[in-house]
Amino acid sequence: MSPQTHRLDTGGRIERSETLSFRFDGQTMQGHPGDTLASALLANGVRLVGRSFKYHRPRGLMAAGGGEPNGLVRLRTGGRAEPNVRATDVLLYDGLVAESQNRWPSLNFDLGALNDRLSPLFPAGFYYKTFMWPASMWPTYEAVIRRMAGLGRAAAEADPDRYEKQYAHCDVLVVGGGPAGLAAALWAGRTGARVLLVDEGAEFGGALLGNGQTIDGAPGMDWVAAIVKNLNKAENIRLLPRTTVTSYHDHNALTMLERVADHLAAPEPDQPRQRLWQVRAKQVILATGALERPLVLANNDRPGVMLAGSVQTYINRYGVRPGQRAVVFTNNDSAYRAALDLSKAGIKIAALVDLRQTAPLGWLPDLDDAGIEVMVDRAVTAVEGRQSVTSVRIGKLNDAGTEVIGGLGRHVDCDLLCFSGGWTPSLHLLSQSGTRLLWDEGLGCFLPGPATQAVRVVGTAGGDCSLQDCLTLGAEAGNQAANDAGHRRRGRGPRKPVAGEEPTLSPPRPLWSIPGKGKAFVDFQSDVTAADLRLAAREGYRSIEHVKRYTTTGMGTDQGRTSNINALGIVAEALDVAIPEVGHTTFRPPFSPVTFGALAGRRIGTLLDPVRRTPMHSWHQANGAAFELVGQWHRPYYYPRPGEDMDRAVDREVLAARSSLAIMDATTLGKIDIRGADAAEFLNRVYVNGWKGLKVGGCRYGLMLGEDGMVFDDGVTARLDEDHFHMTTTTGGAAHVLDWLESWSQTEWPELQLYCTSATEQWAVAAVCGPNARRLMADLCPDWDLSPEAFPHMSWQDGEVAGLSARVFRIGFTGELSFEINVPAGHGPALWHALMTAGEKYAITPFGTEAMHVLRAEVGFIMVGQETDGTVTPHDLGLGRMVSSKKDFLGKRSLSRSDTMRQDRPQLVGLLPEDPQLRVPEGAQLIAGADPAPPQRGQGHVTSSYRSPNLGRTFALGLLQGGHERHGETIHIAFDGSAVPAAVTAPRFLDPGEAAK
């Protein structure tokens, strides 16, 4: 157990009275509540935390927050194991387990580091130039490349945790809870507007958490505490810590990820691990702060080279001193305060090296007091040490900054190099919102252009560097955003906070890379060096987008958060053009990686999609039905009896339907109530056949075509009254048909008076069929005249069936004598029971969708979606006689195009395999000859294929080129390399004849 050697005796926002223990690479260490894994590792003196992606170079922590490129670990174990987690984002909890990644066999001794030695062979894009010979070897090379690549290891088991989702609406969304965001939220909230304030961190305060700035004469964090308390009290303001806004979409829709339980070993029972929010905000305020950039110099990736502001944060927020003796290297003012904080924490500042000609005067007295030597117009020219920094060289550059002059310079021992290459306003979200970013030469960064959505940017994100600006402009933005959302302040506002005095800023000196020997990393995570970028430019990859893709710069898990601007600067130099001319690569969501689990939410597993069930579902289940998925519905597929396989069960069901009595649950059919004076005219326009002549009390089968002339749905529609129809549709097509009807009735023919209303859910439907169907009905409907004259085929009647009020259609899908009995859905099971009971004497047999298919195919009824696939016309199906020539209807004109009139189109035929026991697979191809050898063109395919116990053989339906004229021919059915002969017949194999009338 290692002691916390690098922990300061006092200070920091950690709970020292409580000790947490955790393991890293098997070694047990300790930290405190308030620590991150990163701060705890540093407190324990851990320098080496991982190996780099390509060269396997030793890497240590460089940052304290979201910009960290190196400290990626595998967190937790088993099903909760998570690769590529930034140690700086992980709040420490007791028992935490983490391990380093991308190393073998161990972090200290990693064989992959050989790559670093071979690196001259691996410049950017090397793989495009090699591994091509011999061609057959590529898969072998590729397997090796794949094993070398990748970072962490995924979990091997399923994730036990829950993830929630939540919609939210607000007037003002404030992103970022630093001084600017807090002021904005407070002032927006004062108006009564609904305000949402979110911050990535566990604590609000932003930069104030890590630097020593003061407000109203007291530590900045005192002010933060007071404000947060205030905000928490207000009912119209909601604070969400540990929540990252990950993306900014159209119409002010933003996505955020709340880490509800990641600071715990495991979520509490029934509590989510994370929650994905979809926010719709009337106004957005981005107060997302700025990110510190590294400087690009040779070996700037050695453990112990850290961002100055981050070291400051480790000291002030976590009470951790990452080293003993530091060199601070900067091109801007912010490192001066950092140097003072380091010094206060007892770190010896060996030198403060400033690239600029002059130091910012305001800081010098304090530095003098602290005894810190400032070296202006100097640069760190070399970083020495391998697994950790041991010393640096400090030398002089020529005026352009392109060469070291007079040797590498002074040798200075240190175990810490703190650098600052300037600040990049965090404008990822703004850019995602569609707003252009404009290069500011003075500040050396991109700033917001004119907003394209209802959004404002404040604080350092907007380029306001002073704390006072952050506070004042933040408050103003909050107030204005609330006004724009329709809320105005009543009464006096709170007192404006006053920031402590700070020296006036002097401009930074952008120098995109420091000359020197050795790899100078730009993108630490993707192992991209300045030389790689220059090589890309030299090879003609001139667009920054090409450079990115050729070198992979900015393509790691941090998406180049700290490196992109440096890369841009170097490329601009290499191409000798101005930075705005190069432009930046596209900021894409998410701002920080988002867990798949959170994106998936709870609608997975049994909640993936509804299972729609009919009222009789429980009966089917209790009676052993196997179910088929039809759309979202579960329909009985067949009802096997003990010992029966599917074929036997289906045979039995099919036989029962033709010999006595069978019953099917037909509830799932789509049903649409169509009513109005023009209902018949409307049907005339949407169906191929005529509807005006249909008598009240009658039913008719209709086909619906798209405007392309292709069949997309069919069904029977009944005329309930002069102005009233009951339409049925296919199970899967119900929603689409209603959409289709609404589209035409509302937009094209608004003059037609009619309403279409879905009635699918209202009715339960039992279809009884078979020679005994009429007898059964007679038993249950003693008052009805069921004679074919009184109740003919294709008619309907209302009345009571088994004491239930019902609407009965004399229609069916099997060719047998059939009744489709509709009752209000709640009465479905009662009806079903009554039918089953009364049907016992006829050995009533429930049948599923498979038997239904056999039965309908025997009599040549088509199944939309099986005989049709969106390329089939009524004529192709042999239903041309249905098509009215007297009227226009949707799709009509398409039927007379040159291709749709071709005689050799695939047309519906019957197929009888020569071997009567062979059931050819559906989808098998129809070919002219007996030889299935490729390549050849098929002449069609099998659409349906069954065994028929009635025919005592197998049979099929198919679409065959010119098939209508080819009855009697023998063709071959090809599948899996064989071809079997079959006779072409009419697509009708059985005629139930008079019995069915």
Binding site: Q278, D739, S743, S898
Partner: protein, 93 residues
């Protein structure tokens, strides 16, 4: 995810709507007099405008009404919402 103003229900999430594609395509009444090209043009050819696009939406999981929207296919800004049958609105530059 767009937020659309249904002319009846007001501002609602795209999830409640279905998009019906290009609007103001009038179905020919005398299709039997059209040649294959003219008919094919009606059925298949689209302006697919880059910039202001006039399209149809239905508040399918809301009030059920179809309506028209003028939307920029570049910025996704909604420039106008109007009822079926209304003429294309005049839009500011």
């Amino acid at each position: 995810m767009l937020q659309l103003d249904c002319p009846w229900c007001g501002s609602r999430s795209e999830e409640e709507f279905s998009c019906g594609g290009e609007g103001h395509i009038v179905r020919p009444t005398k299709s039997e007099d059209m040649d294959d090209a003219a008919w094919g043009d009606y059925v298949f050819m689209r302006s697919n405008q880059k910039g202001v696009f006039f399209e149809r939406w239905r508040h399918a999981l809301g009030c059920g009404r179809w309506f028209n929207v003028a939307r920029s296919t570049i910025s996704h800004d909604i420039l106008a919402v109007y009822r079926v049958g209304d003429a294309k609105p005049e839009l500011p530059e």
